[in-house]
């Protein structure tokens, strides 16, 4: 049972590292801010939430940690906080950038501007 929890946590940490690297590469290479938000989602949800839950499972399954329940519980709490806070913060940034007209881009459709003109 301990070994199963440990290996699940290790696999989730490896997935988190790979998602983190791909999210960083996308944030560097994508052309404008609204497309970079997609890579930022890969970097936060895949690169922070998944390894935080993985650290929780790994700490619960390990037999070499002196205070494993404190580390596991705080890891789960941090994972839930990041899972709730990252999309809300990214959405607030996107709304502010659109409202302040900071980013130059060539949109095919812009539903937010259409709705605001109809108001």
């Amino acid at each position: 049972m301990n070994e199963i929890l440990f290996y699940i946590g290790a696999i989730m940490i490896v997935i988190g590292g790979i998602c983190d690297l791909f999210g960083a590469l996308g944030l560097l290479k994508f052309p404008n801010f609204y497309i970079r938000l997609h890579a930022a989602t890969v970097g936060t949800i895949g690169g922070a939430v998944v390894p935080l839950f993985g650290v929780g499972f790994l700490a619960l399954g390990s037999d070499f940690l002196p205070n494993k329940y404190a580390i596991a519980g705080a890891s789960f709490v941090t994972g839930v906080i990041v899972l709730l806070a990252a999309p809300a913060g990214a959405h607030a940034l996107a709304y502010a950038a659109h409202k302040a007209k900071l980013v130059t881009w060539e949109p095919k459709v812009d539903h937010l501007a259409e709705v605001r003109e109809n108001d």
Binding site: N2, E3, F6, A10, I13, V14, G16, G17, I18, D20, L21, G23, A24, L25, L27, L28, F33, R36, L37, A40, G43, T44, G47, A48, V49, P51, L52, V55, L58, A59, G61, S62, D63, F64, L65, P66, N67, A70, I71, A74, S75, V77, T78, I81, V82, A85, A86, A88, G89, A90, A92, L93, Y95, A96, A97, K99, A100, L102, V103
Partner: protein
């Protein structure tokens, strides 16, 4: 092979991935054209440093690093909300 030695073998592969990702986020944070790009890069880097700090808490067998991770995640969310409020209404407010 015990679980502890397996964990340290895993860390040899995982820690370079995270450090490379932090360097690439820092490049985007330094050269970002608009202010929202800089804030987005700092935001992603803060959340990922929180996850990396949880991994380091297991690596160093210490429970103090993990409480700093909670504070860092909440601080990154606060940075987003304050910058968005400042960009929309030209003031931060209460």
């Amino acid at each position: 092979m015990s679980l502890e030695s397996q964990f340290f073998l895993l860390m040899k592969f995982v820690i370079p991935l995270y450090l490379l990702a932090f360097i690439i986020y820092a490049i985007r944070a330094f050269k970002g054209p608009a202010i929202v790009d800089i804030i987005l890069a700092v935001d992603c880097m803060s959340f990922d440093i929180a996850a990396f700090m949880a991994i380091l808490a297991v690596y160093f067998k210490s429970a103090f690093l993990i409480s700093a991770a909670i504070t860092l995640a909440l601080w990154a969310y606060l940075l987003d909300i304050y910058i968005a409020k400042h960009l929309v209404s030209k003031e931060v407010g209460a």
